[in-house]
């Protein structure tokens, strides 16, 4: 009798435990993924400011006036060579297309 209840209790606990675990794991995956994206976008911050907010009148072209779409268009143009420049054509060629999408999504004007 006792064993019967215990078994049900354990199964219920396991079920709750697993569902709780899987939702937590999903949340963690989303948070971890967000952290990776922030890390990738931070590779631009040395020249264009933390979170893309550059120093105004600092001497470097500002990027935070661009929407994500506009930014991606520019990054792709630098990568393909369609747009000329000094450093940016050389840097854009170092990122995959997927990485450029992530960067534009992270840093584009919201």
């Amino acid at each position: 009798m006792l064993a019967k209840y215990l078994k049900r209790a354990i199964l219920a606990a396991l079920y709750i435990g697993f569902s709780h675990w899987s939702s937590t794991a999903l949340a963690q995956n989303a948070e971890a993924s967000n952290l990776y994206k922030r890390g990738l976008a931070a590779t631009c911050a040395n020249c264009h400011g933390t979170d893309g907010k550059g120093v105004v009148d600092g001497g470097m072209p500002l990027i935070n006036n661009l929407t994500s779409e506009q930014m991606l268009t520019q990054l792709k143009a630098f990568k393909s060579g369609a747009r000329e420049g000094t450093i940016m054509p050389q840097l854009a060629k170092g990122y995959s297309d997927e990485q450029l999408v992530t960067i534009a999504n992270q840093l584009g004007k919201k």
């Binding site: 215990l6 435990g17 675990w21 971890a32 120093v55 001497g59 840097l91 990122y95």
Partner: protein
């Protein structure tokens, strides 16, 4: 499986599940994270540990200097076209805006087994994670007589921006017209590969305007110019004809401060009026003392995915102190990039997440060839999981086609932005 066995296993499983589902976040909030050194690497690490943890991680920065003085651009101070004040930033924003505790002290020792750091003042701090970013140590004893010559103020290095940078300019300013400024370069790797060649340009730029009969002599232990070689050689020939003499494969072994004589490994002695001798370099002293410098006793091997020392767990090493990956320069920009990868990895680890499997680094470095025109070198480095290292991406990166004033503007733009990114 009997019932009792099943029950005990289930209980264990439940315990494990409970373990998965909560305390990870708490670990991030409870952890004591220390950052040793407030240069381009350490300051950035401290700031990004706060940003990436959404301001929940406890971060303490230990730095002996009252302000941050940039090494990049400090050759302009040696050449006299800029002042040190223009290159100086406050640490205040790290505490005021970002909630980082700053301790103005230096570190006497690290006990990686007990996970404690002892400060020069005697205080002992416990840590869960420690970031070590101590820059480089100049190995003065690799050039005989150099330590004494430096103590006497005869031979300055000025390879860490500060009072020596200003003092070196004063030596050049008081040199006779027709005198010789000699700079020597150790075998790579050393801090800031193009730095010595940029300095030669800055000194020549000053001499050209103020003491045009003078000379700049570059004694390079390397086979050839180690960075932006073709660009520098063109500038020397076109902008400073007859003024800059470049001598590769000239390894300095000793200096006589009284007679201002430089002794070379192979060639005859050289005399100069102002001597700027750069000795071989190693990881910062605290890294060497702690036994972290496990690459030839000079540089620190790290796991590139998170910048954790291969010698000690929970010790992360950044910037000029590390044994670099292929084509990775020892630069301020690179130290800032190391810091972001390490900060994200520490936040992930303390949160119970996998660290980013594909981190990316960039480098850009601007060199002034006179007081306005600049040349750059740039690169992008992707982490290659199979080889556990960073590699520059083929077809990316490169140098300027020629010096330009536009890049002079960008160089200052880079400086203002990286100072804000690291400290603002």
């Amino acid at each position: 499986m009997d019932r009792r066995h099943f029950i005990s296993q289930s209980a264990a499983a439940l315990g494990l599940l409970a373990g998965f589902s909560g305390p990870a976040r708490a670990n991030l909030q409870k952890a004591e994270i220390l950052v040793i050194g407030g240069g381009y690497g350490g300051a950035t690490a401290a700031k990004y540990l706060r940003l990436f943890s959404n301001n929940t991680a406890k971060v303490t920065l230990i730095e002996p200097n009252p302000t941050f003085i940039s090494c990049p651009l400090s050759n302009l101070v040696v050449g006299g076209s800029r002042t040190l004040t223009e290159l100086t930033s406050s640490y205040d924003n790290l505490s005021k805006r970002h909630g980082i505790k700053i301790i103005k002290d230096s570190v006497a020792s690290i006990d990686a087994d007990k996970k404690t750091v002892k400060l020069a003042s005697g205080q002992t701090l416990r840590y869960d994670k420690v970031v070590v970013s101590p820059g480089v140590t100049l190995m003065m004893n690799t050039i005989e007589g150099l330590a004494q010559a430096n103590k006497d103020g005869v031979t300055l290095q000025a390879w860490k921006a500060g009072p020596e940078t200003v003092a070196l300019h004063k030596q050049i300013a008081s040199m006779r017209d027709g005198g010789t400024f000699a700079i020597s370069i150790p075998e790579a790797p050393y801090r800031c590969p193009p730095g010595p060649y940029e300095r030669a340009c800055q000194v020549a730029n000053y001499l050209k305007q103020n003491k045009p009969k003078s000379k700049v002599l570059i004694l390079d232990a390397n086979q050839d110019v180690t960075s932006k070689g073709a660009l520098f050689k063109k500038v020397w020939a076109e902008q400073y004809p007859g003024m800059i003499e470049y001598l590769p494969k000239h390894n300095v072994t000793a200096v006589d401060a009284k007679t201002k004589t430089i002794k070379l490994e192979i060639q005859d002695d050289v005399k100069a009026d102002v001597l700027n001798l750069l000795p071989a370099m190693s990881a910062g002293e605290i890294a060497v003392k702690t036994g972290l410098a496990n690459s030839n006793g000079r540089w620190v091997n790290v796991n590139f995915i998170n910048f954790e020392s291969t010698a000690q767990k929970d010790v992360y090493v950044l910037g000029d102190s590390i044994q670099v990956a292929n084509a990775m320069p020892k630069s301020g920009h690179m130290a800032n990039q190391h810091a972001k990868v390490a900060a994200a990895a520490i936040v992930a680890e303390l949160s119970g997440w996998d660290v980013n499997p594909a981190p990316v680094l960039t480098n850009t470095c601007y060199s002034f060839v006179n007081d306005r025109e600049v040349v750059h070198v740039a690169s992008v480095h992707q982490y290659i999981a199979a080889e556990k290292t960073f590699k520059p991406v083929p077809g990316s990166g490169g140098v300027s086609p020629a010096p330009s004033t536009l890049e002079g503007v960008y160089a200052w733009g880079w400086a203002h932005n990286i100072w804000a990114d690291s400290l603002g």
